[in-house]
């Protein structure tokens, strides 16, 4: 058995010790943010709370939430706490609804990130000597580079293969002897299928474990990936606003919930409607406060991910709380092949095309291993034509514009008027048939 822990002391610290570290860091953070970031100060003033009011961890709930719009309102660098010359890297979200959200890192942040990512990889049983096939996308997305630095910190060998070019990836896996795969779970299934097509038997490869994240996936999918790729599949969680990959990680021994690296990222579960903190173990919206980030700390960030915190001790020995696999969202965001899609974006495209009525529905399905999105659009008299060609051109135009804006290829299905259900209140825009 390889090393169990990357930082054994902190990962197995009794909770009382951990909480005293959290409190000290939280108080420092709040004081620093209050002094250096005007938007945070204004929000705290409006809420009538001052840094010295934070005396216990429970006082965290007195602080105002931060939401994605706060990031947009302060685009691009308005929430950074250090001068730009201290920033060594930025990442940005896809930002398809208006402005993207930009996050920044100091040198120390990059080191913290590499370190938590190395912890995460150790949780998955990876170690020095492993050949790590990193198929997360490199670029503005935090996945690729975030994981990359973690592998280097671990001392393993990283193959920065990034996404795409699946056949070549298989050749590399075979020739380089990849032992650990980092990718989205759907891409892992894609790889498995492509292996079948090119006649490579996964049993002939050296893959031992897969670290999968960046999109929701089910237990059924875990079994499927494990069977098809002949490896052990574990779940990783992260988001760019908090850090990137490496916020929480499933351990090999429990396979139930991901250990949150709480000495850096303080989790809460709130009722998404009232904003009240829920008792331990209850399901609600996950909220994070970063305790150690320098460039872009965030206080009580509402992730909109639905989860639950598990405080029962884990058989792996880590005392770090576990978060349950994310089971849903509080908003209508969809993740399609790793891309975040909001129905409002689809609507935006449709409304921009003359004659298209605001009656549409998005149907998401999983065909084989890939998510497919079908946009159903009602054919009004204005767009209707007696010529097939005209209607086909319309479908194509919608498809191209959605691809341009969202980066996702969809199917467009023209339907008869009034076939899309009109609901009394909120229209049901999305039918998600994927079995998560």
């Amino acid at each position: 058995m390889a090393t169990l822990f990357w930082e054994e002391e902190i990962e197995t610290l009794p909770r009382v010790g951990l909480e005293s570290i959290q409190l000290r860091r939280l108080r420092n953070l709040v004081a620093r943010v209050y002094m250096t970031v005007a938007p945070y100060r204004r929000k705290m003033e409006a809420a009538g709370v001052r840094p010295e009011d934070i005396r216990t961890l429970a006082d965290l709930r007195r602080l105002p939430f931060t939401v994605k719009d706060d990031l947009r309102d302060n685009y691009p660098f308005g929430l950074f706490t250090v001068p730009m010359e201290e920033i060594v890297r930025v990442h940005a979200s896809s930002g398809t609804t208006g402005k993207s959200t930009v996050v920044g890192y100091t040198q120390k942040d990059i080191e913290t990130w590499a370190n938590v990512m190395a912890r995460a990889l150790t949780c998955a049983g990876a170690h020095k000597g492993d050949i790590v096939h990193n198929a997360y996308g490199y670029g503005l997305f935090t996945g690729g580079l975030g994981a990359h630095y973690g592998v280097e910190r671990l001392g393993a060998t990283v193959i920065p293969v990034s996404g795409g070019n699946t056949k070549r990836q298989i050749t590399i896996m075979k020739d380089f002897g990849s032992t650990v795969l980092l990718s989205t779970p759907s891409y892992a299934l894609n790889l498995a299928e492509a292996m079948g097509a090119v006649g490579v038997d996964p049993h002939s490869l050296s893959l031992r474990v897969g670290v999968f994240g960046a999109e929701p996936w089910s237990e059924n999918m875990r079994e499927e990936v494990e069977r098809k790729l002949n490896l052990k599949a574990v779940d990783i969680y992260g988001l760019s606003e908090v850090m990137g990959p490496g916020v929480a990680m499933e351990c090999l021994s429990a396979e139930k919930g991901m250990h949150v690296f709480e000495d850096h990222f303080l989790p809460e579960i709130i009722d998404p409607d009232t904003g009240e903190v829920l008792p331990p173990g209850e399901k609600g919206e996950l909220v994070f406060t970063t305790l150690t980030k320098e460039a872009f700390p965030i206080i009580r960030y509402r992730t909109k991910d639905i989860s639950r915190l598990i405080y029962e001790p884990c058989s792996c020995g880590r005392t770090l709380v576990r978060m349950e696999k994310v089971t849903g969202r509080t908003d209508d965001m969809l993740i399609i092949r790793g891309v975040n899609v909001f129905p409002s974006q689809v609507e935006h495209v449709l409304m921009g095309i003359e004659g298209v009525e605001p009656h549409y529905q998005i149907v998401v399905e999983r065909e084989g291993n890939l998510d497919t999105m079908t946009v159903q659009v009602e054919v009004s008299e204005i767009i209707f034509s007696d010529e097939i060609r005209v209607l086909e051109n319309l479908s194509r135009k919608i498809q191209v514009e959605i691809k341009d804006l969202l980066g996702v290829t969809c199917k467009v299905k023209l339907v008869e008027p009034k076939t899309i259900q009109r609901s009394e209140g909120k229209a049901q825009r999305v039918i998600d048939k994927r079995k998560m």
Binding site: V379, S380, E381, F384, S385, D386, E387, I388, R389, L391, E392, S395, K413, L414, V415, E416, P417, K418, T419
Partner: protein, 143 residues
């Protein structure tokens, strides 16, 4: 010289055609000619009926998307080469046929070709100049 045609959008699902024809029957509308064009996802039903406005209203009231376009109806003797003769003229004139369909009239002597052209006026002129009989809507319905 132009004939009004109605077009109806159809999703590819069973029973839609039957529904349309029932609606027309209930409203005492007679179908003179029809054609269905379809793709994998949808179809377009094109109809020539005796009461265009009534048909359009009835179908719309029943939730269908209905359009109205103009086509021309050319009468040719129902014998070998009848259609070829028309198409040759069309081709020589550089006219583009969007689509066409045909039926044989009751007497069985003549065939009627329904054409949808981009340049309908030019098409009428060319066909007439070449001696073809172009039917009006009334003539078509009286056949």
């Amino acid at each position: 010289m132009r004939v009004e045609q109605i077009a109806v959008f159809l999703e590819n699902k069973s029973g839609r055609l039957a529904e349309i024809t029932s609606i027309l029957a209930e409203n005492d509308i007679n179908i003179r000619a029809l054609s269905v064009a379809d793709t994998a996802d949808f179809g377009i039903l094109r109809l020539i009926v005796d009461k265009v406005e009534k048909a359009k209203t009835a179908l719309k009231q029943n939730g269908f998307t209905v359009g109205k376009t103009t086509v021309i109806a050319v009468e040719v003797p129902d014998r070998t080469g009848g259609l070829a003769g028309v198409l040759k003229v069309v081709e020589n004139a550089g006219l583009n046929v969007e689509y066409m369909y045909a039926f044989v009239n009751k007497t069985g002597e003549d065939a009627v070709l329904i054409f949808r052209f981009d340049e309908i006026d030019k098409a009428i002129e060319v066909l007439r100049d070449n001696g073809f009989t172009i039917l009006t809507g009334e003539q078509l319905c009286a056949l």
